[in-house]
Every structure is written in structure tokens, then in C-alpha cells.
Symmetry: C2
Subunit: 125 residues, 2 copies
Amino acid sequence: MSTCLTPKVVNFNEKLDLISEYWQPKVIAQMNDYQFKIVKILGDFVMHTHASTDETFIVLEGKLRIDFKDDSVCINAGEMYVVPAKTAHKPYAENEVKLLLIEPCGLTNTGDEGGTRTAPNDIWI
Amino acid sequence: MSTCLTPKVVNFNEKLDLISEYWQPKVIAQMNDYQFKIVKILGDFVMHTHASTDETFIVLEGKLRIDFKDDSVCINAGEMYVVPAKTAHKPYAENEVKLLLIEPCGLTNTGDEGGTRTAPNDIWI
């Protein structure tokens, strides 16, 4: 089992205040081989898939829409959604949304799709 | 990889409204082989250890204290804390606290300690 890298209490708003760029997830805590990341998003992303893992979205502020191939879901502050593995999805935020993501260490934000929106991994704040 | 058991959006407050008993975690979502559980707590628990996994506490409402052998931490709403594996810990709530727990499927709430506070596992709401 991994050594815990987060010996201290983590305050979501304090960490969010350290972020200015959109679509750049930052790691705030780790549990075993999973990481907790916060990210601010605005506008549209790329449709992508994670072949080998589910991915959890918890909305801290704002209203997130996740588009799938044939439909979409809306997730408000105080709500969560788990995108199943192998499911193509595209986050969208009409206005700024503040998210907590939970996913395995090393997962790439753009999944199988790559491209210019791919963010560096394992960046702690 | 597991089939996702939570195809719908989960609202924390709606789920919390379904709980009346203290210290009885209920599963609200699953990501791979990890589960998200909500629980209301009040008063003192038993000091216990999880030998093989970290455990994540996210405070949704109230003020949680976690006591360790030699010290303690306080975690407020909008904050999280990861208790490392093999670390004896005891949650405490002077007033009611509403928590989101994230931990591997099948983890027993009282860890190695057992006793009357042990809650049934894998109860979904």
C-alpha cells in the first residue's frame, strides 16, 4: 500500500484559489493508488474515453454537463457522477465550474484522445 | 474492471435525508472497486486500524475531529483528510457531522477492532 502523501487537512476552496488556468487538474490528495484532483473548467472539452477505469466527478461549484454519444447529464454543486470505463464522454461548462476529480494515479485527462488539451500529470498544489 | 453501479447523478443532501441512524454508512456510488459512502455521526467511536488501505474522509457538514494515538486533526465542511493505512484513528463529533467516505469495497467501519459499532457493509441507498 502506498505511503500517504497528504498528512494534512486539505481545504478545497484554499486549493482552488491557487488555480488560475482552466482544464489543468492539480493533485491535492492521494488514497492508495488513487488521486484527488481539483480543476476549474469553462467551455468545451474533447470527447474521450478511459479504457481501463471509471472516473469520478464531484461538483464543488457551478453546473457541469457531461455529454455522451447519445445523451448528457447535468451535475450541480453537491452532486457526483461516476463515468464508467470505456464510455466516451465530454465535460462542458457554460459558466465556470469547480470540480473534484477522483481517478487512478497517472490517468491522462484526455484519455485515448490526446491533443492540445492534454494536461501534465501528477502536479500537486 | 467493475461494471458501474451508479448510472445516475447522486445528490449528497438527498441521500443524507434518507439516513436517520448514526454511524451507519450507506453506499451511494462505486468507482472500480472503491465505494462512496455517506454517514451521519455524533459522539465517539472506537479507535481502530485498517491494515491494508488508506481511508478518505470528506466533511459535507459540521466539524469532524479524528483522534490518533498522540494527536488529532479537525476537518471542517469543504475539507478532506486521508487516514493512512495502518494508522490507528478514532472519529469524533461533538455535534452531528455529515461525511462522505471513500474506501475499498468491503472495508469494515471498525477495521481490526470489531465490536458493537460494526455496521453492515455494502448497503446502498
